[in-house]
């Protein structure tokens, strides 16, 4: 089966200026995202992982143009969307939707969940009211809620149920790409699996492509076909899921994986503790961004920023060990 590329991100940069008061021009910037490339194949799930503050959510919001990128290209089905006008962008947004992290902040408290899901149909389709209601009920049922929930307000639901409403809202316009920004991080562990299974099921039913943003490596392993590891706004390693989890190459990836708990007390594993704090993106270290915490750093690491080295098996890694 031939797969087509649905989303391609090239050299994406987002610098946030640090304001130093009203009268001084901001001289300093935070490099939240600093040259990220991504490629999403239709029907697959790419995981974007990293510690908090590494710029992974910013990438997701730039793709939807919720944030305006500083530089780079975002090609949706081969078409650069960064210079689209408002009305053209509105058409493209029907194809791309987002699921947010916090189910308590992502629903308007003054709208019933039915209204919340219906709103995007109202904007994006010529459907009449009875038709829309029918579709909303269908969507609510698709995500495991009931049509009777139409007239309830968000505060009447639990976190997991609200997240399902958020998913129904994203699905309403028949998108082909969904950016899931930490969709289960705010949920109880007991609810997480249900929502993950729902996402998996919906992906198959509607032939969705996911960009799955998460800091939780076990969740990513469960859901993703390919994994991109970010650190301080840059991609550190990218590989197919099986390869990455079996043989992580970058010392950072290895450290992250060693921190994932294994639900089997008999398995002994050596943890690779990371020392030191994550440096701030407003003042990144010279050389390799990770060298300040890397257990395997050697001579030129603090001077040379390594490029992404291509490795066997369609993977890349940003580390001088693999030169």
């Amino acid at each position: 089966m031939k797969v087509s590329t649905i989303l391609e991100v090239n050299g994406l940069k987002k610098y946030f200026p640090i304001d130093k008061g009203m009268f001084r021009a901001s001289s300093h910037v935070v490099r939240a995202v600093d040259g990220v490339d991504l490629r999403l194949q239709e029907g697959r799930t790419v995981g974007l992982v990293g510690e908090s503050g590494c710029g992974k959510s910013t990438v997701g919001k730039c793709v939807l143009r919720l944030i305006k990128p500083t530089a780079g290209e975002i090609l949706f089905r081969g078409d650069n969307i960064l210079h689209k006008s408002g009305s053209e962008m509105r058409k493209i947004r029907r194809e791309m939707q987002i699921i947010f992290q916090d189910p308590f902040a992502s629903l308007n408290p003054r709208m019933t969940v039915g209204q919340a899901v219906e709103e995007s149909l109202k904007i994006n389709t010529p459907m009449k009211r009875p038709e829309r209601i029918q579709r909303v009920v269908q969507l609510l049922e698709d995500v495991g809620l009931s049509g009777e929930d139409f007239n309830k307000y968000p505060h009447e639901f639990s976190g997991g149920q609200r997240q399902r409403v958020g998913i129904a809202r994203a699905l309403a316009v028949h998108p082909s790409l969904i950016i899931a920004d930490e969709p289960v991080s705010a949920l109880d562990v007991s609810i997480r699996a249900q929502v993950l299974n729902l996402l998996q099921e919906l992906k198959e039913r509607y032939r969705l492509t996911y960009l799955f943003i998460s800091h939780d490596l076990s969740v990513v392993e469960y859901l993703c076909d390919r994994v991109v590891v970010m650190y301080l706004g840059k991609v550190m390693e990218e590989a197919d899921r099986a390869d990455l989890y079996k043989t992580p190459l970058h010392p950072y990836t290895r450290a992250l994986l060693s921190a994932v708990p294994i639900p089997d007390p008999s398995v002994k594993r050596k943890r690779i503790p990371l020392t030191g704090e994550i440096p701030t993106a407003s003042n990144p270290p010279p050389g390799c961004l990770f060298h300040t915490r890397c257990p395997e750093r050697f001579e030129p690491c603090d001077k040379v920023l390594p490029p992404l080295f291509a490795q066997e098996g369609n993977r890349v890694v940003r580390c001088l060990l693999y030169q």
Partner: protein, 285 residues
Amino acid sequence: MRSSESYLQIVGRRFRRNRLAVSGSVIILLLFALALLAPVLSRYDPAVIDVNNILSAPSWEHWMGTDESGRDVMSRMIYGARISMLVGFVAVGIATFIGILFGAVAGYYGGRIDAVIMRFVDIMLCFPTFFLILAVIAILEPGLMNIMIVIGVTGWMGVARLVRAEFLSLKEQEYVQAARAFGSSDLRIIFRHLLPNAMAPVLVSATFGIAGAILTESALSFFGLGVQPPTPSWGNILGSGYKYIDFAHWLSVFPGLAILITALGYNLLGEGLRDALDPRLEGSQ
């Protein structure tokens, strides 16, 4: 979690538990009834002059006495309630409308637009409002319409600041980003998502604003720059009656009391609303 209770029901319950707030709303409801039923409740035509009954003291015939032209003070007071209610609502309506407009634009678009609007607000706030109103009224004709407009046009800055502040924090909420992600227009985001969530403090400030507008109208009418006789307003009854305070105190006492009670009623209502709508008190008994 009280699951089946809507936000408004929670607010309603908290409001009803506040005795002062309830008495405030009772006062205001009574005043409304008075204003609406004025022709039924007043026993005399407020404009009819009775030269045989000048400055007579309160009695069974005239509960609040008569004025210097022999008109029944009680009937004039009842019709005056109409003026006060009208001025309060229309002036505050104008102020709230302008304030929401400027505040929403400043808060939503931010940047240079915000800076320009908020500096304009600062400039407006530098004028001593009452003297500004006096100056404008002196240029325009004094009259009911003009004072409502002038009070409204000089009273919107607080609302603008409130709405702007609410919008600044609300527009970062994820549901606003979600609305943007499925292609909502700016207008839709402002009116469907931001404004309904920003209305609580606006409502509270509007309630206090009504008390202020009624006081301003009374003061202007007292000085003869507001509602023009023969139309009765509490301010102009007081303004023409205070000259006789030595021997006809009822011409000053009753309108004074009415103004006091009305302002008190709105302030109690406003404070009750503020407490009931305060999300930090969520769940408190």
